[in-house]
């Protein structure tokens, strides 16, 4: 079974190589047609000065309102610190079984934790986060298999622990 096409919309600056390699991993995992677009947005509208972070719920709604072809899945990519009102931060979020998700590079970067930059690790984390959020748009919930990319991760170390692939059960669920 082939899954709907995927559109990645980048908001802000991303290294070309990072974006393309991550997109390649997404394409391989879901075996879908994939397009990368550039999005333009005034992020200050989504900035919360009290928290010095960007509102993930509002950004998700913004991306969801961008017109795309019917049945397409859209993933908005950001490089800012995201939050939702109830949580101190998020790596990304998506409408479960919906058509939109968002993911941010910000907290995946080693430098965010006072460590030396590691581009390889950053790429690995970013592709996992993208595949994870798109998995939710395809209707997948968090998986209990420790290595599955759909396993819930609340710390960046949790992301490092899992694989960038779906486990066989999740793959079966999607019919891929």
């Amino acid at each position: 079974m082939s899954l709907p096409d995927i559109t990645l919309i980048s908001f802000g600056y991303f290294e070309k190589e990072l974006l393309e390699k991550s997109a390649e991993a997404v394409k391989r995992e879901y075996r879908s047609l994939l397009a990368i677009k550039e999005g333009h947005i005034d992020l200050s509208d989504y900035y919360d000065p009290g928290r010095r972070q960007y509102n993930g719920n509002a950004l998700l709604k913004h991306v969801d309102a961008i017109p795309v072809a019917e049945n397409n899945k859209t993933l908005g990519l950001f490089n800012v610190d995201l939050f939702i009102p109830i949580l101190t931060y998020i790596f990304g979020q998506a409408f479960l079984g919906g058509r939109t998700g968002i993911a941010s590079l910000y907290r995946l970067n080693n430098e965010c934790y006072g460590l030396k930059a590691d581009n390889k690790l950053l790429l690995d984390r970013f592709r996992k986060e993208m595949i994870h959020e798109l998995g939710h748009t395809f209707g997948l919930i968090h998986c209990k298999v420790p290595t599955c990319v759909m396993r819930s991760g609340t710390y960046v170390e949790d992301i490092d622990q899992k694989d960038h692939r779906l486990c066989p059960a999740c793959r079966r669920e999607l019919g891929v």
Partner: protein, 446 residues
């Protein structure tokens, strides 16, 4: 498949509801939300949720008031309260009112995951606990009390009505008739069922040991009392205490027991502090307590204190129609425990069992079946596997005369008071039998 845990989110802020809704649905929970306490309470009337996550500060009814209302309706509900304005006072208030936990918004994602994981664990434990309780009750009710005879049905009816009261009960019946099982069934069907059932075998303990066993002792009360120890009455608080072989306790213990039953308080051996305990007494004996009272060996006041309700268990020979059911039950019990295939019983063997008078009652039948399964061919129990010829009459008679009286009565009962058949079985002539009946004033059971 494991049951899907359900979560109800109650918060007046739409963004909070949406965030939590997304977060939990991604985790695979069933999630619903309400924008105020009133709506949440209406939803809870028609639907139950495993976990309720509620904001404290809401217009109209606040989260704390809602928590109190939920707890009064469903005390087992797991409610987690959230607030953006954390104060120790509100946290303490919420926890005192029965909240499972208290969190301050916004949470760290990991904290939220742990919070819900702990609550989910609590939900599973509560459900497991309920299942086990039901299982225990059904075990007490169904497995242990077997019988379809009128005599047994009457006993079960009595158990049911006695169980609901708080009165003392005396269970009488010959040895091996299942007095302890009846005591357990009374406890298991009573409002005290979730509290301890404490068993004391009075006949097995000396007077001083029984005293320390029942009332407990303080450290140093006697040689070897190295620690403070709770007595059985103390352990039975809110539950039931079963005093087996009550007729064997000494005159001194009878006085002590009477005092405890009247005041529901006692002092540990070697102690000086009065301890109160709320227990129900169930006693059992195979002796005739009334005649012991007449002879002066059992205190009359204690007898009347204990004998508020009386359940008389019929001997097995008076409920012969229950033998096939009991045989089936014991075959299944022992074949399962010995890991063997279920065996059948030959109809001739079953008939012989129904003709036997079972002086040792159900305990004797149980032992016979266990033995037959061990020595048998593994397919069918035959007459040869049953030690019917070797059966020995057991009574609690303490004199030769008393033994003779009980024995003759048993044989008379076995042959339905047919004098010729009884005399022939006893190998005496009919006149001798008549003389014995007259001597011991034997009468058929009414």
């Amino acid at each position: 498949m494991a049951k899907k845990i359900s979560i109800l989110i109650v918060d007046d802020e739409e963004s909070v509801r949406d965030s939590l809704f997304n977060w939990f649905t991604e985790d695979g929970y069933r999630v619903e939300s309400a924008e105020n306490a009133k709506k949440a309470l209406t939803m809870l009337e028609s639907e139950s949720f495993d976990i309720i996550l509620a904001d404290i500060k809401m217009p109209g009814m606040d989260g704390l008031e809602m928590l109190r209302r939920i707890k009064s309706l469903k005390p087992d509900s797991i409610v987690i309260v959230m607030t953006a304005f954390a104060t120790v006072d509100t946290a303490v208030k919420a926890l005192k009112d029965g909240a499972f936990d208290y969190v301050t918004k916004p949470f760290d994602p990991d904290d939220l995951t742990h919070l819900i994981r702990n609550a989910t664990k609590q939900v599973s434990l509560t459900e497991e606990n309920e299942t086990l309780k039901k299982k225990i009750i059904s075990l007490e009710n169904i497995e242990d009390l077997i019988g379809n005879s009128e005599a047994m049905k009457e006993v079960l009816r009595e158990v049911e009505s006695v169980a609901q009261t708080n009165s003392s009960v005396i269970i009488t019946g010959e040895s091996g008739t299942g007095k302890e099982l009846i005591a357990r069934a009374i406890h298991a069907n009573s409002p005290r069922k979730f509290f301890p059932f404490v068993n004391v075998h009075c006949g097995a303990l000396t007077e001083s040991l029984l005293e320390s066993e029942l009332f407990g002792h303080e450290k140093g009360a006697f040689t070897g009392a190295m620690y403070n120890r709770k007595g059985r009455f103390e352990m039975a608080d809110n539950g039931s205490i079963f005093l087996d072989e009550i007729a064997t306790i000494s005159a001194k213990m009878q006085v002590e027991l009477l005092r405890v039953l009247e005041t529901k308080s006692f002092i540990r051996v070697g102690g000086n502090k009065e301890i109160n305990s709320d227990f129900r007494v169930i006693c059992a004996t195979n002796r005739d307590l009334k005649s012991m009272v007449e002879k002066g060996t059992f205190r009359e006041d204690l007898f009347y204190r204990l004998n508020v309700m009386n359940i008389k268990l019929p001997p097995l020979r008076e409920r012969l129609e229950d033998i096939p059911l009991l045989v089936d039950y014991f075959i299944s019990k022992y074949c399962t425990s010995m890991n063997r295939q279920l065996v059948a019983i030959e109809s001739s063997a079953l008939k012989r069992l129904q003709e036997f008078n079972f002086p040792g009652n159900i305990r004797e039948l149980e032992n016979m079946i266990e033995r037959a399964i061990v020595v048998g061919n593994g397919k069918k129990i035959t007459v040869r596997d049953l030690p019917l010829e070797k059966a020995v009459v057991t009574t609690s008679a303490e004199s030769l005369d008393e033994f003779e009286k009980v024995f003759i009565l048993q044989i008379l009962t076995k042959y339905n008071w047919n004098i010729s058949r009884t005399a022939s079985a006893l190998k005496v002539d009919r006149v001798t039998l008549y003389n014995k009946i007259k001597k011991y004033d034997l009468k058929p059971a009414t």
